[in-house]
Symmetry: C2
Subunit: 165 residues, 2 copies
DNA sequence: CGCTGTTTTGATTTAATTCAAGCATAGTGG
DNA sequence: CCACTATGCTTGAATTAAATCAAAACAGCG
């Protein structure tokens, strides 16, 4: 799934992509803070706020809950650094490294999102994302494969991680 | 105070500025996620993690705590949108509007941070921040005053808010 | 098959950065 | 009280990274 915010004129910032097992969408106030969309066949389990507060009432629940939100905050904080201070190459390298880690280092990363989604996640245009994949491909750091170029094979995880900085 | 993250080569992203009364720095794991620095005479009250977990155990505490972290997350999420998708003018307008709101619409906003701090908060260079203040000044949307140009007077709150989008 | 949406690639433009002065302010010490 | 220095802000000129504009190729689909 993708969660994102929109500007009135249609510019979009994707906060994060959610993989199976992820928890997201913690809200408190009366209004939703962002939109969530499935980009593949998805099963979602909903949790009521009341149950959340109940779960927090016992020590084990509080700890788990603290872990969850710390993870969200941590991701947001490092993503701010990326959006504000990284170059296009660094952003794309960071993106593939993030996916690689979250999928636990598969041989092939199958991207379910489009180039535009990736661009809107990284604060770039889809053309720049495409060109940057080409740059990393030409540097032999990754392969771009499959009929729709959505299969990514990491050839140089160390080099990519260095770029991601 | 300012809280920020650094890249190895010195590039800096300021997560947020903290005003009197703000709570910040919620951490969970063994390592700190960012650096905090005072940019003015500051008194800081520390809270132990244990006390936090205790406070969460009762319903009132849990609610307050949920409010706190929701506020942090919300700020981070909207800041991601700003960093990834706003222009320089929109960023600076959003910055002065944020300060105006948080200081509860004073006649004069006295900035305690430098132009570089603002730049590192908005994902710009200090020169661009300076130029952008000049643009908004020339548009009669704000005044830049004081011996060191750190006093900002908002002349057109509505217009600035529209720019901030 | 034609239609639609996606990706790539090329040419051009532009917003913001970088490089470079020049000033103003505040602090320091003689 | 006055150089002297350090720091921060502004402004101008040149550069550049990424955006925009444009076109072609391709896959998937009804």
């Amino acid at each position: 799934m993708r969660t994102y915010k929109l500007l009135p004129d249609g510019r979009r910032q994707i906060n994060s992509f959610h993989l199976p097992g992820d928890i997201f969408g913690l809200e408190n106030g009366a209004t939703h803070r962002f939109t969530a969309e499935a980009i593949a066949e998805t099963k979602v389990r909903i949790m009521r706020r009341q149950n959340l507060l109940d779960a927090m009432a016992n020590r084990g629940g509080a700890k788990k809950f603290l872990d969850l939100i710390t993870r969200s905050l941590k991701h947001a904080e490092s993503h701010m650094l990326l959006l504000g201070r990284n170059t296009a190459v660094e952003k794309v390298a960071a993106f593939v490294c993030e996916m690689d880690e979250r999928l636990e280092h598969p041989n092939v990363i199958t991207l379910l999102m489009t180039r535009r989604d990736i661009a809107d996640y990284l604060g770039l245009t889809l053309e720049t994302v495409s060109r940057t994949f080409a740059i990393l491909r030409d540097k032999k750091m990754l392969q771009v494969d499959g009929p729709t170029n959505k299969q990514i094979v990491l050839l140089d995880r160390r080099g990519l991680a260095e770029l991601a900085a």
